[in-house]
């Protein structure tokens, strides 16, 4: 099978040596409720290259956070990972088939915090209010790195200093409620990075912060990402943050990836109609004051229902009747670095559309389609 996507290239580059930190394959997360099944993640295949930042964008409820939780096997009940494969490639050590382990197993707990860690949206509630910040960071270090309390404390001070918190020694004994929101998020980042993970899952880490603090937190994350050499899965709905942080972007809609591209390409030329609609909906400086903001027409369908065909077709301005509402497009390469799941770019049989009408840059030539039936 010959593919030319960026990820595939990276895979092959070092003599077949895998250079991804994690690979998700056809991941399905379902929430079985009394009202029906919610398919929060509905067949996501995603690779995160080592040392890169992959941004996941999409509307609320499109499954981006649940994808991150699934990697940790921390999908909250009644959610369950019903199908798929997650393979983790730690810096040192053999690849790990994550889903083979029980969610409460020792192996899974070694992965959590040790190889993969997470920071959350709400710094105000992400730290336990009844324990000092230092204790909470040391708890992770004592679990994964050392059993020596003194050394753990030293490491905690070190990492608190690295995230730019003043007087880290004193901070060890400080309680979360004594810190500001920005400081708490820094402390949370320190906690997540205390065991130098291979992969950091950042679930909208700056959404709850004001813009100035947001910029500072992003700087800190960028710096430490380079220093530790970890990868980040950056979940957000803020395209501005994505532009600043991500190397690659995955756009999600209703539990599925609709577009995957390097960040510059995505902003230069969004291809999927949903991505384009997202981009249009960002307000710009200089638009007339009373002009209406661009919105994506329609709303998300009932979460218990399944949309036939392309999930976006009911809201899509260029949907093709008889095609988009019947068949489900697969994520296929459009250029060597961009993958899109849309019939504007691919025919039903997977061959590229002869003369792409919706894109300007088709100069890279038609990619070799993997001729699988849709």
């Amino acid at each position: 099978m010959v593919t030319t996507s960026a990820v595939a290239e990276a895979k092959v580059s070092a003599n077949g040596q895998v250079d991804n930190v994690i690979e998700l394959e056809d991941l399905h997360v379902h929430f079985h409720t009394k009202l029906g099944v919610v398919r929060a993640v509905n067949g996501v295949t995603l690779e995160i290259p080592r040392g890169k930042v992959v941004g996941v964008v999409g509307e609320s409820g499109c499954g981006k956070s649940q994808t991150a939780f699934a990697i940790m096997q921390l999908v909250p009940p009644p959610g369950r990972i019903v199908a798929g494969k997650i393979v983790l490639y730690p810096k040192n050590g053999p690849p790990v088939n994550v889903l083979r382990y029980d969610r409460n197993s020792d192996e899974m707990r070694a992965i959590r915090g040790g190889h993969v860690s997470m920071i959350f949206q709400e710094p105000m509630t992400a730290l336990n209010p009844v324990y000092p910040v230092g204790d909470q960071i040391m708890e992770a270090i004592l679990l994964h790195q050392t059993t020596d309390k003194k050394e753990a404390a030293a490491r905690a001070v070190d990492i608190l200093g690295k995230v730019g918190l003043p007087n880290p020694k004193r901070l060890l004994g400080t309680y979360p409620h004594e810190l500001s929101g920005g400081m708490r998020q820094r402390a949370m980042i320190a906690l997540a990075l205390s065991c130098t993970p291979d992969l950091l899952l950042a679930d909208e880490p700056t959404t709850a912060l004001d813009v100035t603090t947001q910029a500072q937190i992003l700087d800190v994350m960028r710096e430490l990402q380079a220093e530790i050499g970890m990868s980040i899965l950056f979940v957000t709905h803020n395209l501005g943050v994505i532009a600043q942080m991500a190397d690659e972007v995955a756009v999600m809609y209703l539990g599925q990836l609709v577009e995957r591209a390097p960040v510059e390409e995505l902003f230069d030329e969004p291809r999927h109609p949903y991505t384009r609609a997202l981009m249009r909906s960002i307000p710009h400086l200089g638009t007339p004051r009373h002009a209406r903001l661009n919105v994506i027409e329609g709303g998300l369908p009932n979460q218990y229902s399944q949309v036939p065909g392309c999930a976006f077709h009911p809201r899509c301005p260029v949907a093709q009747p008889g095609l988009c509402d019947v068949y489900q497009p697969a994520l296929r390469p459009v250029t060597p670095t961009v993958e899109v799941s849309c019939f504007l770019y691919h025919n039903l049989d997977g061959t590229p559309v002869a003369a792409p009408t919706q894109t300007a840059s088709s100069g890279t030539g038609p990619p070799l389609g993997d001729a699988l039936p849709a």
Partner: protein
Amino acid sequence: MLNFLIRRVSFMVISMIAISILSFVLIELPPGSAIEVKLQQLRQQGGDMTAEQVRGLEERYGIHDPIQVKYWKWISRAVKGDFGQSFQLDRPVKSLIWARLGFSVLLSSFALVFSWGLSIPLGVYSATHRYTLPDYVIQVLQFVGVAIPQFLLALLLLVLASRAFNQEVGTLFSQQFKNAPWSLPRLLDFLRHVWIPVVVLAVGGTAGLTRIMRANLLDVLGQQYVQTARSKGVAEHIVIWKHAVRNALHPLIMALGTTLPLLISGEVIISIVLNLPTTGPMYLQALLNKDMYLAVAFLLMLSLMLLIGNLLADILLAWVDPRVRLE
């Protein structure tokens, strides 16, 4: 913390003074006096007193003094530990209360330990196994426990104990140990009797506390920091007991503050049903008979217990949660 304690204790003193005045006045308020009650009883038994005798008694107890004089006479002795004389029983209030207080506190403490020791693990289990069969069973038992009247439960247990275990029921001791000095056989006999009142006393509280624990823990388990702890790789039982339960204890601790007075007055009905030598029935009798010095002494002790309970709850709360620590 010390400042906080000093302030709290001084408030407690002021509250106690206010409470003593209020309860004294309230008990004085209705017409009639303890002497009239006593006279009536005497007449019912066929006896009588001459008007002089009555006047003599009234003089002796200062029945016609203005209320502030009465209060002052009483309070100045009360602070020295002398709570006056019971009209009805003709003995010092102090000795009356002390004779029964031991059993009351013992019984209620047993019940308290029992209900806490049971409700926390049950609530935690129920919350962490939500919508499973054991959770449903625990919940049904809770509803029964909350709903069943204590006296009914007491009667049921009495029947059960006497029919099924062929046990002598009621009171706290068998006949031969009733007035014997403490010894090992007496202690064993006591333990054989005490379980019925302890179970009856504890069931309602256990059920209520289990419900609170379950609801609160469910709330806390949805909090972000619980997920943070899991994402660090902390084992699930440590996540529950270290990170979640401690954050869910607040309402239980506050409930403890208001539970303390029940150590003295909580078991009135059961004590009557089970014929227990505790303070509850005596308190009731004192109120019915307008035996005011006895009644006021009880009221004061209840209030003191409430204040101490709340102080303890506040201290415990500060220990559990740094956010309520002052200064």
